[in-house]
Amino acid sequence: MAVSLGAAALVLVVLGLGLGDYPLGPLEVVRALGGDQGFASTVVLEWRLPRVLAALAFGAALGVSGALFQSLTRNPLGSPDVIGFATGSFTGVLVFTVLLGGSVLGATGGALVGGLATALVVYLLAYRDGVQGFRLIVVGIAITAMLGSFNTWLLLKVQTEVAMAASMWAAGSLGLVGWSQLWPAALMLALLVPCVLAVARPLRQLELGDDAAAAHGVRVEPARLVILVVGVALTAVVVATTGPIAFVALAAPQIAKRLAGGAGLPLGHTALLGGTLLLAADLVAQHLLPTDLPVGIVTIVLGGVYLLTLLVREARRTV
């Protein structure tokens, strides 16, 4: 399954590097990657490669982040979005642009502060003799709804152009990712990889239940907090670069679980699948739609349709 996923990802990479206003065949793409092909190399290496790599890396990060949250909350609806990270980071951007008069594109700091503060508030509000997954999700829904209506109101107060630019950002787009944006993000994600590997074992134990985990020597609440922090950090890196991209974190772990079989959520498969999904969604957003829309819109529609089909299929089987 890992092999076929890898092959699919490779095909998509070649497609992503070849498609565009200056189309290239697979062989030309490979040659251009080697360099020294003049304009073709510029197009592939400077323009298209960073976006394709960003889709793979960010998709993987979102997928793993979702898997961490879903294992933590023991709920397939768990994702960084449910604890309000995306909405909170949008609030941060809006406060920065609307109330402080900054530009939407320079609002990375506002996004991070907003997202992290929201995640912290949700965690603290959900904390009561430890954090229970269901409570975390419901508190997240409440805070998300509150901030969401606050965002809507702030958007009403500004000029339409500013509001639209901000909403574009909030939908999540890979369109502006170049090498200079990709490098710092990739570095941060690389630093987070050992952290993910470190929490993988306590995560497996927690999936078996708090008591079982405690019996295996896992200190439940500290472990949960660390997993939460790693999950939020993965999302934060992506959101700071592209804006919140919905549904990859939700769908990737569930699809990977069904493809790979087994009880837990497979982190490796999830990463591979998340990257492939985001790359595919970005290709759809760039080349199949009449206007160039943010990739987040494609992921939310495809992810939602996927969840609906899943529900119908499972209902049919349990007749």
Partner: protein, 357 residues
């Protein structure tokens, strides 16, 4: 493939029989609570008519309503602007609260809300289509799209939730609502991000406001809301039976399937009607039934009746606050209810156990 519903523990509660029913037990005490709520509602109505950027004394309000001799400006403020607005608040509050009570009873999910069944996103989607592609610009024009969208979304969620089975389980309904809501909200973003004019028009509707909503929006929808409220009252008996569990309800001679279908009809009429009139207003459908349940206990007849009174109270208070806080401008009432409702939801879920049904 294992069902994804089963590893989501308490998204829905299996409706355990409560050892101790909270709230008032004697019919007299319940009646007293209902009467008190009605008195509070009258006070809210008067406040809604009198308070605003131009304060009007209560005596003048009465004179204006009964055709007495009052200054033209006062008459315009009270009869022209605030009377339709107050009627709107009454209709929207009662609809959302009763819709919430019915959804919570039928899904046996104490955290259910009309928004969860995709009603709001269905309305938002068809309004976006109407504004974006059909060039509809006035509230009178897109009221019907909002209504149709609510209907389609509720039916779609019900069909997905009940695929392969006769009656949908509570968890399937909730998941189907979330999934459909996500798809529709993505499509709405796609529509509005393509054009600045569409963007502004859809944005204004989505904030959930009572501003610029006159009789032309209220009157055509009102009959549906009234039918929905009456149907909800008629449905309280079967809902009580349902709260005992499907098997027991069946044994008591109540048709579980018919109750669920009628509940969907009620929710569509009420939540769809409210959304058509005022745009999406969150948390009213979630909060009010809980407050009602605390006061009068688990009997659906009392919960629905009290919700019908407390819903308008909440919405009118929120609307008056929306006018007063940001004077001379105003905050959309949906923002106020969200800021009141979110803490209530957090408090609910922080209690040791979520109130069973």
């Amino acid at each position: 493939m294992e069902p994804i519903v089963h590893d989501s523990p308490p998204t829905t509660l299996p409706a355990p029989p409560r050892p101790r029913a909270p709230g008032l037990q004697s019919p007299g005490a319940r009646t007293a609570a209902l009467v008190t709520a009605l008195v509070v509602l009258v006070v809210c109505v008067v406040a809604s008519l009198a308070i605003g950027s131009r304060a009007v004394p209560v005596g003048t309000v009465w004179a204006a309503l009964t055709g007495g001799d009052v200054p033209a400006a006062d008459h315009a403020a009270v009869v022209g602007l605030r009377l339709p607005r107050t009627v709107l608040g009454l209709a929207v509050g009662a609809s959302l609260a009763v819709a919430g009570a019915v959804i919570q009873a039928v899904t046996r999910n104490p955290l259910a809300d009309p928004g969860i069944l995709g009603v709001t996103s269905g309305s938002a989607f068809l309004v976006a289509v109407a504004v974006g592609f059909l060039g509809v610009t006035s509230p009178t024009g897109y009221v019907w799209f909002a209504f149709a969208g609510a209907l389609l979304a509720t039916v779609a969620v019900y069909l997905v939730g009940s695929a392969g089975r006769g009656t949908p389980g509570p968890a399937q309904l909730t998941l189907a609502g979330v999934a459909l809501g996500a798809v529709l909200s993505g499509l709405v973003s796609a529509i509005r991000l393509t054009d600045p004019e569409r963007f502004a028009a859809i944005q204004a509707w989505e904030s959930g406001s009572f501003q610029n909503r006159g009789w032309d929006v209220i009157v055509p929808v009102l009959p549906f809301v009234v039918v929905g409220l009456l149907l909800a009252l008629a449905l309280t008996g079967p809902l009580n039976a349902l709260s005992l569990g499907d098997d027991l309800a069946h044994a008591l001679g109540s048709s579980v399937g018919r109750t669920r279908v009628l509940a969907v009809v009620v929710v569509t009429l009420l939540a769809g009607g409210a959304t058509a009139m005022a745009g999406p207003i969150v948390f009213v459908g979630l909060m009010v039934p809980h407050v009602a349940r605390w006061v009068v206990g688990p009997d659906q007849r009392w919960i629905v009746a009290l919700s019908m009174v407390l819903g308008p109270v909440l919405v009118l208070v929120a609307d008056v606050a929306a006018r007063v806080v940001a004077r001379p401008g105003e905050i959309p009432v949906g923002v106020v209810t969200a800021f009141v409702g979110a803490p209530v939801l957090v408090a609910l879920v922080r209690r040791r156990k979520v109130t069973g049904l």
